[in-house]
């Protein structure tokens, strides 16, 4: 009776895998500790890789969206401009339109367009969102239109708005700006740049809106709305050096700051290099530490288990079999740790990635599914390999041990 009852479970072959598994279950504390160590490593490896890649993507996104070689803003406004472009920090500053006319005539200047900035009144009842409104002159624009035309196949009509991915709008696809309801024509995709917090309108709509803002106290009365621009964006003509053209502008025109977009880019890029460097260093140091710690832990536990392995030898296990059991135990632990760590990393990085990027003040554009899966596969493979690598020496040692001697040591 009894034999039949147990037949199904009791008759499974005692493979290396099952022996290793039973050994791990026999020492759950040890197993949990080792799994945790590997999990921490996998968490950092995968999380770090995704963040690094995300920052790199954000960087490229920013580079692509800066669009112009030189940006002219009022004197001392370049920091505000950079905050707007990188972080989407709403701002407003104004220049007389004559500056644009002057610049258009300068040698080495190719395309020129202007933008008009207006910060919405966040928190007030007049506006749906706290964001930056940018009026673009779509007759001359060469910076925003390439993105917009991808979405719309047409220009922005007067009275329409296009919103960045982070701007909140009403459910019926409208947005209230300075007490006027505007239809939202399109929403840009996430770029992890200031664009995400920007509302684009035509320059005509912009001027009307500025007047509405003036009435609500959201725009200074001393600015001549019809004769003002906020930023003048310049593409340098082929064959001219960007920094030479910029230098002539600084020399010639009083009361302006000349921003080379390359400068914004390199600012962010050096911050990015620093962060990815830190992530890389942490990953490597942690990886090495984990291997060393596991190596020590495996060596210690193995020497306490000499008798157990001597018994296996007496029962006819080959040296290879003993090494196989040790390696399989390590592999089981690192497999479990690797999966747990990576799973946790996925749960943290993807939902909170944007928040993490904001905290770092860096453009962070998380990689797509394919790229993420590739990084996941690498992080898993490295973490899984850590167990067998760090236990290899123990496995070798136990397989070489003198059976009779170890049996007596266990007495």
């Amino acid at each position: 009776m009894r034999i039949n009852n147990h037949k199904d479970t009791a008759n499974k072959p005692l493979t290396t895998l099952r022996i290793a598994f039973n050994n791990l279950c026999g020492k759950p504390g040890r197993a949990v500790a080792l799994v945790t160590i590997v999990a921490i490593m996998a968490f950092v490896l995968f999380g770090g890789a995704i963040l690094s890649r995300g920052l790199d993507n954000g960087m490229r996104s920013l580079e692509a969206r800066l669009g112009a070689d030189i940006i002219i803003v009022p004197q001392d406004s370049e920091d505000d401009y950079e905050s707007l472009i990188v972080d989407g920090e709403p701002t407003g500053f104004y220049l007389d339109m004559s500056v644009k006319d002057y610049i258009s005539q300068m040698e080495g200047v190719g395309q020129v367009t202007s933008q008009f900035f207006l910060a919405t009144l966040g928190g007030g009842s007049c506006c749906t969102a706290s964001a930056q409104v940018i009026g673009i002159d779509y007759e001359t624009d060469f910076v925003i239109m390439p993105w917009v035309s991808q979405l719309l196949n047409r220009n922005i009509g007067d009275g329409e708005v296009i919103v960045g991915s982070g701007v909140s709008i009403n459910y019926d696809n409208t947005i209230l700006l300075f007490d006027v309801l505007y239809p939202v024509a399109a929403r840009l995709e996430h770029s992890s740049t200031g664009m995400d917090n920007t509302i684009y309108v035509s320059i005509n709509t912009m001027r009307d809106m500025a007047r509405d803002a003036q009435a609500l106290g959201g725009f200074p009365y001393d600015v001549d709305i019809d004769r003002s621009v906020s930023a003048i964006l310049v593409d340098v003509a082929p064959g001219y050096e960007i920094n030479l053209v910029a230098r002539v502008m600084r020399w010639d025109i009083p009361g302006i700051s000349v921003v080379e977009s390359y400068g914004i880019y390199t600012n962010v890029a050096s911050g990015l290099r620093f962060i990815t460097g830190v992530i890389g260093t942490i990953s490597v140091v942690l990886g090495v530490t984990v291997i060393v710690v596991l190596f020590v832990l495996f060596s210690l536990t193995i020497s306490g288990r000499k008798k157990e392995f001597a018994i296996l030898r007496i029962l006819g296990a080959t040296r290879t079999k003993l090494a196989g059991i040790v390696l399989t135990e390590a592999l089981d632990l690192s497999l479990l740790g690797a999966f747990l760590g990576c799973a946790l990393s996925v749960l943290v990085v993807f939902p909170f990635g944007r928040h993490i990027g904001m905290q770092m003040g860096m453009p962070l554009l998380l990689p797509g599914v394919g790229d993420s899966l590739r990084l996941l596969a690498i992080a898993l493979a490295v973490s899984v390999a850590v167990g067998p690598i760090s236990s290899a020496y123990s496995a070798y040692k136990i397989s070489r041990a003198e059976t009779y001697a170890t049996m007596r040591e266990g007495e």
């Binding site: 009791a10 072959p13 005692l14 157990e308 007496i314 029962l315 006819g316 040296r319």
Partner: protein, 222 residues
Amino acid sequence: MKIEIKSLVKEYKQGDQTISALKKVNLTITSGEFYSITGRSGSGKTTLLNIVAGLTTPTSGNVLLDGKDIFTLSDSALSLYRNATIGCVMQQHSVLANLTVLDNVRLPFHLAKREGDSAKEAYRLLSLMGIEDLAKRMPKRLSGGQIKRVVIARALINKPMLLLADEPTGDLDSHTTKEIMQTLKTVASEGTAILMVTHDHDANEYASTHFSMNDGALKRLS
């Protein structure tokens, strides 16, 4: 199958002095015979069994399995010899703590990658030892005598040609000793040779050939 032990010498070096644990031991083991070795503590009985099991190499002399020296075998061939040709009941407790009683008994069967129903044979041996109800227990919940019986069952799972038993009834009361010895006698009658070390007078009675070990020298008594 035949196992011949020829001029076996084992010396242990301890600092500058040499301990002669075995002095030119000769013994031929044939199927179905039940040998017992008695002798003082430290006389070399365990050393002899360990060499026959291929666990320690002799200083000189041979252990021949059908004419072939087991110490010239490859690791896998020697492992197979330990696994299937012989069965070992060590003097110390040699049960694996992480496996159930049943799995301990089944383990040698699977180490040699045999096909077949290991559980059925394991249950047969456990009931032969009178402990089939302990099959699902972990060894740490067993008494010393119960463990000894698990180890004997395990040593028999691959139907060895020779059973090496170092104090198999060391932890057992006289009633159980009688039962176990009766079982071993049955095992021997089915063709397995038994080489048993014992201090127990009652156990000694079950053997058919008696030896005594005296300071490393083996002497036949009857």
